[in-house]
Symmetry: C2
Subunit: 120 residues, 2 copies
């Protein structure tokens, strides 16, 4: 069973975390059966953290977890912190396929999104 875990940085401002949860709802609506379980987690400052988020996917029956970093830049968080958190869970669940995808900023269509925002 395939699952997607959107991973955001997390903020002290609850409204920012709520934006991520609202986005996760939108991803659920748009997934069209691509994933049977979709949730979000946070690198820091908000709950659930990444290991807990992955474990929730597994508890829901996931045999594959796609971890999608909701980050614009390939900084330390994307390059090191998220893979480290994932690796720790992977050791405990060797039977589950846990994959980290490219981060949002790497998406080809971001340039088009920026242009779309600036249409009159």
């Amino acid at each position: 069973m395939k699952s997607l875990l959107l991973v955001a940085h997390g903020s002290r401002r609850e409204s920012s975390n709520r934006e991520v949860r609202t986005l996760t709802d939108r991803v659920r609506e748009r997934a069209g059966g691509q994933f049977e379980y979709i949730d979000c987690a946070f690198l820091e400052l908000a709950d659930p953290d990444i290991p807990s988020g992955i474990e929730t996917c597994i508890s829901a029956g996931a045999t594959q977890v796609k971890v999608v970093p909701y980050f614009l830049s390939a900084g330390r968080h994307v390059a090191e912190d998220i893979p480290a958190a994932v690796a720790e869970v992977r050791r405990r669940y060797p039977e589950v396929d846990i994959v980290v995808t490219p981060h949002l900023g790497a998406a080809d269509a971001i340039a088009d999104q920026l242009l779309a925002l600036s249409v009159d």
Copy 2:
């Protein structure tokens, strides 16, 4: 003459700032005549800052500057800092139409981008 100024946060890591400049190149390639001048600027930690970025657009002949916040969350930077920087320039160039667009995280299609990243 219409111009677009992509505004990112800016980072101490030059590679992150370079990602923004590369993205700006991609926006230029995709703009298809929608804007005659396209550049980027940074809220902090990198050059040019927002007022300098807008002034470069105006020097290039822009009568309209669309400022597009390359931010995921509607936090203080998007809600206050960018509008404040823009307002300061607007006072000095009342004849130029300087508009701040919604931030990237507000784009409807972001959910689809996240799903596209997670395709096998």
